[in-house]
């Protein structure tokens, strides 16, 4: 049975339009134009134990609102959802003891306190037994390489250290469902990698269901086997990461290396090649060809030119998703 189940989950927000300028500000004291914004539209999906699902989409696609509804922070305007058998927005204590949300863009720890004090407070909030608390804190500190930093005020820690503390604080009560909203945002590459490795290890050890939103493709590629692709509030794709390629990337990359010592006149020109040329020199040619025309293009190359070897690759998955972020949809991949 699914740990997270969402069915036609929708959320609409009313916001007030505010025009720039002094006169517009005066006018807004009397009249403000309302704008209805559909943040999430009929989102339906299931997530099982131990799954890490990437929630992917451009800014404003509705990812964070969806996560906030599943975490019980925001009420939906329509549809329903169950997390561990509970309606999240009813916020039962039983459910809240078993879920966690990391908000990469918002510090959730108390700035004026050292992390050790924050964790002790969380121990009381979640009513964690002394032995469990020590054991989990040791495990988390060790896995994330935390030592003396525990006794430094949160506001004096570096961004990376702070994010590690956030992770510890979120996982101290051993949640069965973890929502990770941009957990690596703003971190350097080393810290990003450390957090990814930690999350994989944590998944291995505890088998929680995780939903990850991130704009870093490395996060999605390394952590998620499955992704939910959101576009303008709707889930437009739900499936394995590889399937994204088939659905959203109409092209493949064909690379052919020429035989050495060949007469330059026998080499192709851009006009004579069966596909869009990405690179061409005396050693090799790199083409972007339609997915369903790869075989014929390869055949054409082998017949027409002195080819030593040929490889066919997918367009890099990160590039495809990045293009979805940028354009809202994949046009013709031009990489």
């Amino acid at each position: 049975m699914a740990i997270i189940h969402a069915e036609k989950l929708s959320r609409t927000f009313t916001v007030h339009e505010k025009q720039p300028g002094f006169l517009a500000s005066v006018r807004s004291l009397i009249y403000r134009k309302k704008i209805i914004k559909q943040a999430v539209i009929e989102a339906s999906f299931d997530i099982d134990e131990g799954e890490i699902v990437g929630l992917v989409g451009a800014n404003g696609a509705g990812k964070t609102t969806l996560v906030k509804m599943l975490a019980g922070i925001v009420h939906p305007t329509a549809g329903t959802a169950e997390v561990l058998g509970h309606q999240p927005w009813k916020r039962s204590n039983e459910l809240r003891r078993r879920i966690a949300l990391i908000m990469g863009q918002k510090a959730s720890l108390w700035w004026d306190l050292p992390a050790a004090d924050c964790f002790l407070l969380l121990k009381e909030i979640y009513q964690i037994e002394d032995s469990d608390y020590s054991q989990r804190l040791d495990y988390l500190c060790q896995a994330l390489g935390i030592g003396d930093e525990l006794h430094v005020q949160i506001r004096r820690l570096s961004l990376g250290e702070r994010m590690k503390m956030e992770l510890i604080s979120t996982l101290l009560h051993a949640p069965k469902v973890v929502f990770l909203d941009e957990p690596t945002i703003g971190l350097d590459l080393t810290a990003q990698r450390a957090i990814r490795e930690f999350l994989l290890q944590y998944r291995e050890d505890h088998k929680p269901a995780m939903i990850l939103t991130s704009h870093y493709m490395d996060d999605i590629e390394e952590l998620c086997e499955r992704i939910l692709l959101m576009q303008k509030g709707r889930i437009v794709f739900d499936g394995a990461l590889e399937q994204v390629m088939e659905t959203y990337s109409p092209n493949k990359i064909l690379t052919a290396h020429f035989q050495s010592g060949v007469d330059p006149e026998r080499l192709p020109t851009a006009e004579t090649l069966p596909g869009q040329v990405l690179a061409l020199d005396a050693d090799h040619v790199r083409l972007q060809v339609p997915r369903d025309g790869v075989t014929s293009s390869a055949q054409q190359l082998l017949v027409s030119f002195p080819i030593a070897d040929i490889t066919i690759e997918e367009v890099e998955i990160g590039s495809v998703i990045e293009q979805i972020f940028r354009d809202g949809h994949v046009k013709d991949a031009d990489r």
């Binding site: 009313t14 964070t64 922070i73 009420h75 908000m103 002790l120 009513q127």
Partner: protein
């Protein structure tokens, strides 16, 4: 919320505030001293001849009244509690508390009580200065009974102030900035609660209104009780009215909170 957690939150908040030593001494202690000196000079200028004032206060009595209002008033409603809830709603910090398996209302109250704990140190310091420097009014008899009744009235005053401030701050679910609303409430509370002028000095026709409104129970009532100016019958009536206001405010807050949560969007994350 478990008592242990309540105590922990309270203790953390107190320690946090006391870790800011400069703010603790300058803002809190010197702030109270400056406030007292202002009131003292004003009344010294008003009262040119010795004698009893309206409401039965002597000059020394009125000085003691203001010392108690300034010091104990900090226990009832300190600056911490004036916009913390609305700020949480406004900047989305509320989301963090909504995830916790504990009541946000009680959590904030524990924090507020924790924030008032350092005030006890200030009360001790400034109270000692008062006793050493100024004459204690002869007509005032602080007994164990009046002191106990006063402390109980202070506790209810703190709860009532918090509940009304909480209700007003919930408006932040719909309005971006409710600071002005809270400031207005504090001004009205101080004026009609006896923090600016003792309520006994208000016109006779207003006394009934002042008794049934909640503001009197923030400042004037607990202070007058400690000073032995409130009879047990008046005290019982006052406590009943303030508790009634507390429950009424809580009932309205419950409805407003539910409606507010429907429109809460958790901005900032």
């Amino acid at each position: 919320m478990k008592v242990q957690l309540f105590r922990h939150v309270l203790s953390i908040e107190a320690r946090k505030l006391m870790s800011y030593r400069i703010d603790f001494w300058i803002n809190s202690v010197l702030g109270s001293l400056a406030q007292f000196l202002l009131v003292y000079s004003l009344w010294a200028a008003i009262i040119v001849e010795p004698g009893e004032l309206k409401g039965g206060y002597s000059f020394d009595g009125i000085v003691l009244y203001y010392v108690l209002v300034i010091l104990l008033g900090r226990l009832v409603g300190n600056s911490f509690s004036q916009n913390d809830v609305s700020q949480d709603i406004y900047d989305g910090t509320l989301s963090r508390y909504l995830l916790f398996p504990s009541s946000y209302f009680v959590f904030k109250y524990a924090q507020r009580l924790g924030a008032t704990t350092p005030t006890l140190v200030q009360i001790a310091v400034l109270g000692l200065i008062y006793l050493l420097v100024l004459p204690f009014p002869k007509e005032v008899q602080v007994t164990l009974t009046s002191f106990t009744m006063g402390v109980m009235a202070l506790f209810v005053a703190s709860l009532l102030f918090y509940s009304i401030s909480w209700l007003l701050q919930l408006v932040a679910f719909w309005a971006d900035n409710v600071w002005s609303l809270v400031v207005m409430m504090i001004f009205v509370a101080r004026l009609l609660g006896g923090a600016m002028i003792p309520l006994a000095m208000f016109p006779d026709w207003s006394q009934t209104w002042l008794t049934v409104l909640p503001f009197r129970y923030f400042y004037g009532f607990p202070v007058d009780t400690i000073m032995g100016r409130v009879s047990p019958a008046e005290w019982s009536q006052g406590m009943a009215i303030s508790i009634l206001w507390f429950f009424l405010t809580m009932a309205i807050s419950r409805i407003v909170w539910r409606r507010g949560m429907l429109s809460y969007s958790g901005v900032g994350i």
